[in-house]
Structures are given as structure tokens and as C-alpha cells.
């Protein structure tokens, strides 16, 4: 029953999810290819988690079609889930068991024999660098360690497809980088990754291709580089003015950049040449408190597409 290598691993057409009156996912289309790292980028409430839960075959599809490994989740849920690894948004680890026992019992749910489960548990604990905490209760682990354990648990059945719902939300920078590093290694081994995030840097680091979601719909699709080229500019000049001076700017910045975005706390000038834009700002007698030139990011893409920031 394995789908051939060229056909998409996941295929969604007019895929929708309703909860009563609420439309969580509104007829989206996407395909994920084997070996790809695919991302859903969007703010909270955009429909990312609802989409992920449908792909994970734990939430029934309301409308449209969805196939995973060429199979229908409504008919073949258990068979599909046998080949998935899932890192849910909130950890669902068993606090009454040890770190190692969490992995071993999870192996049993996939019908993996005890001895093989123990072998895989030890191997995975090493992979996520938790081998020294094997006998500890899960409750004693830090947030980052719990997340790594959840990643290890998702790998216990050697999945063909790994689903990660906001894998690093709530982690400190060091813990995030460790998770990213492990995910990057998996990607290099050819594991297909599908992840949701509202961190643009996470999407840029990990995703080969992504869709931007907003208000239950997909508003753009492409590689991070394509999206930035299409919806942002090469460089972005960020200006900060004293709090009361910003509303008085009016049209004083007109013509300096391709596009100007005035946010609550700063002004963004989209331009091909940041240095020239700074010079132009100064030549008009404007005195910003700080002026920072950076490259365009997915944050800018999102701002352009929706008029809002990713993280409020």
C-alpha cells in the first residue's frame, strides 16, 4: 500500500474544519513531498493546529479531501498513525513514569516488543541528549528537556512523517537551538517534517517550503527566499522615534522607500539600499533615536500580507 516516491506524502484539497459555527480551516489546498520540510506559518488562531490535527488523524475532516500516504484518514486512521510521529503543541508526557519508561510504553502502543522498545529508547535518549536523565521522573525535567523527550517519543516508531506543532514555543533560546539542531539532523536523514510555528526564524531555519496562514486560509506559498523576494525587499530600515514624535511624521518619509509601514513602536522602510535610505532620512532633517538596517524576513512577508505582526 505504500505510495510511490513521486506522489505527495500529504495532499489536501479544499480541506476544511468547523467547530459548530467557528470555521477553523476554510478550504485550503497543499501538497507535501517526501523528504521535504514543510511549514505552516501564522499567528495564533490561524488554523495551523486544526490542520495539523487533521493530518495526524486525530481530528475528523469536516469538508474537502485529505490523503496521507495516499490513504484516507477516516478509513485508515490507525494504519496512517502507525507511520506518523507527532509532537503536539502541549506536552502529553506521562508524569508518573520515568523518562525512559515514557519511551518504552509508547513503543508498546505501536506494537513494538518490549526488548526492541528498550533498545530504541536508549538510542533515542542519546539522540536527544537525555541519557543521563533516563531514570528521572518527567516532572523534574526543564521545559526544553521535556520537549526533547517528546521529540524522542515521536521517533520511537521510526516514522515516515514527523508532525511538529509549535515545537519550540515557550523555550529559551539555547533550548530552542538544541531542538532545531536535532530536527535539522532528522531532515538530513530524509525524514519528512511538517511543522507549525509563529516564529519566523524557526520557519526560515527549518522549512524548505511553507504556507502562510491567516484567518483559516492560506494567503501565500513558497520557499522562504521566494516569499521574501516577492513580498518584502532586500533590506529593511527600522527607525525608532521618540514616542510622541512618531504620530507627527505624516508624509515626511514619502518617496524614500518602496513602501513604509508605521507600527506602534517603530517605522519600517522597505528598500533595496538601506544606507541610502538612512542618508535620505537624515537629509530631511528627521532625527530617529535608532536606525537599524536588516535584511527582509518572513515577519515582513506576514506584515505585508495581513497588515499585522505574527506575534502580538
Amino acid at each position: 500500500m505504500r505510495s510511490s516516491d513521486s506522489s505527495p506524502l500529504i495532499s489536501a484539497r479544499r480541506l476544511g474544519k468547523r467547530f459548530g459555527e467557528l470555521i477553523a480551516v476554510d478550504g485550503i489546498d497543499f501538497d507535501v513531498a517526501r523528504g521535504e520540510a514543510f511549514g505552516f506559518l501564522g499567528p495564533n488562531g490561524a488554523g495551523k493546529t486544526s490542520t495539523m490535527r487533521m493530518i495526524a488523524c486525530v481530528s475528523p475532516v469536516t469538508s474537502g479531501t485529505l490523503t496521507i500516504f495516499g490513504e484516507d484518514p477516516a478509513r485508515r486512521g490507525p494504519e496512517i498513525r502507525a507511520r506518523l510521529g507527532v509532537v503536539p503543541q502541549a506536552d502529553t508526557l506521562d508524569l508518573e513514569l520515568t523518562v525512559r519508561e515514557n519511551l518504552i510504553i509508547f513503543a508498546r502502543y505501536f506494537d513494538i516488543p518490549w526488548a526492541e522498545g528498550r533498545r530504541r529508547a536508549d538510542e533515542l535518549l542519546e539522540f536527544v541528549q537525555l541519557q543521563e536523565r533516563a531514570k528521572d521522573k518527567v516532572d523534574d525535567l526543564s521545559g526544553g528537556m521535556k520537549r526533547r523527550l517528546t521529540v524522542a517519543r515521536a521517533l520511537i516508531n521510526e516514522p515516515d512523517l514527523l508532525l511538529l506543532d509549535e515545537p519550540t514555543t515557550g523555550l529559551d533560546p539555547q533550548a530552542r537551538h538544541l531542538v532545531w539542531d536535532r530536527l535539522y539532523r532528522l531532515k538530513q536523514r530524509g525524514v519528512t517534517l511538517v511543522l507549525t510555528t509563529h516564529y519566523m526564524d524557526e520557519a526560515e531555519q527549518l522549512c524548505d517550503r511553507l504556507v502562510v496562514m491567516d484567518k483559516a486560509k492560506i494567503v501565500a506559498e513558497g520557499t522562504p527566499r521566494e516569499l521574501i523576494a516577492k513580498y518584502s525587499t532586500k533590506e529593511v530600515l527600522e527607525l525608532r522615534f521618540p514616542v510622541d514624535a512618531q504620530p507627527a511624521l505624516d508624509h515626511k518619509l514619502d518617496g524614500i522607500a518602496d513602501r513604509v509601514e508605521v507600527l506602534a513602536d517603530r517605522v519600517l522602510l522597505y528598500t533595496q539600499d538601506g544606507d541610502a535610505a538612512v542618508a535620505a532620512v537624515h537629509s530631511r532633517g528627521l532625527r530617529p533615536e535608532t536606525a537599524l538596517i536588516r535584511r527582509g524576513t518572513l515577519e515582513d512577508v506576514f506584515l505585508r500580507l495581513t497588515g499585522r505582526s505574527l506575534i502580538d
Binding site: S59, G77, P78, E79, R81, D94, R108, F110, D111
Partner: protein, 261 residues
Amino acid sequence: MIAPGSVGGAVRVFEHNALIFKRLWRGSMTVSFFTPLFFIASMGLGLGSLVNKSSGGVGGVPYIDFLAPGLLAATTMQTAAFECTYPILGKILWDHIYDAMLATPLVVRDLVIGEVAWVTVRMLMVATIFWIVMAVFGVAHTAESLLAIPAATLCGLAFATPLIAFTATQKNDSVMGSVFRLVITPLFIFGGTFFPISSLPLFLQWVAWATPLSHGVELSRGLVLGTLAFPQAAAHIAVLLVYVVVGAVIALPLIRRRLVK
């Protein structure tokens, strides 16, 4: 892999419970031994000596022989009540254990069957230890009395499946305490364990007979004392089975509605 919804999936859920129990079994067994020991010693022997002196026992047997087998059924009821309320709600609400399980090949039916199988084994453990205590006191001395172990377990199951259904509908644990205050404790006291139901006002006798405990108590008592007649036994078993089956039939869709969104 396991065929979906086959026995294998329920066995995995059972194994999860067993793995957690592995850490707790010594304490749990100790409690299961000493609680009936103290109850039978204080009420059966202590209170019983007064009862025997004033009225020559109950229904022609010493009070301890009347009390202990009834207490066996009441004890499995309490085990069921404990296992099917807070731990199940915790797995739904607090630790999301079921969410984790349902992300694997397991299905909702595996969860329900696995939990019922686990509580059955827990009650068999508790009832077996209880029987040993009864044997120590000389109450249980026939091979037939061993049948009180499965009888009491069936009585507990008649509470287990309806309670799982009830737990599946709870948004938090605020009403859980009421289950014990308004159902389990009154039944424990008035359900025929400590005195015959016939001593109750007629209206309460009907209430008592509508609940599973009185049937479990009669069944257990009859098997230990060797006084059980076939038609009554069949009636008691039938009532208990109705509770088990109806509870299970209601619990499955309620758990599914709770977990699959």
C-alpha cells in the same frame, strides 16, 4: 501492527496501567490487607459480640459471618469508584494521556476496554486479599466461598462502567467528591453490608434493590455462607450484568465525544 480495535490495543492500555502500578503495588496491597482486617476485627468481632449477645447474630449466623462477605462487595465497589473517577479524569483533562495514546494506532474502544480490563484486575486483587483475610477469621472456609471473589468483582464492574461514562462528561473534578458523598458512602452504609436491607423503610428497600451493591452483597454473602439458591443468584447476576453492559454502551460514545474533536 495490531489490527485496529482488536484486543491488542486494549492490552497496551492495560500495560500502561500495569507499568504505573508496578511502582505502587506494595503500598496498595498493604492497604488492601489491613483495611478489611481492621474492619472485620472491630465491627465483626467487637460490635459483633454485642449483636450476637442481644439477638444471636443476624439471620441465624454470627455477625462476623454476616458482615464480612457483604463488606467484600462494598470494598470492590469502592475500588471501582476510585479507579474510574479521578485517574480517568486525569488522563482526559490533566495529563492528556489519552490524547497521546490516540496519536498512535490505538482507538477509543481500546481505551475503554483497556481501562475496564485494568479495573477488573485491580478488583480481583483486592477481593482475593479480602478473601484471605476472611479465611484468617474463619469466615471463609469452603471452596464455594472462593466464588465470592468474581462475584464481588462483577459487583464492582457494575459501578465501573457507569462511572467511566459519568467521568467522561465532567469538565473538572468539582462534582467528583459528590459521587462519593451522595452515592458510594450512602450505599456503603445502607446497602445491606452492615444490616439487612429488610430493616430499612419499604421505600428505601426499593431504592437499595435498584442499585448494584445490594445484589453484589447478597451474591457474595450467599456464596460465602453457602445459602445461595439458584434463581436468586441468577437474578442478582442479571441485574449486575445490565449495569455493566449499559454502562459500557454509554461510556464508549461519551469518551469518543470527549476526546475526538
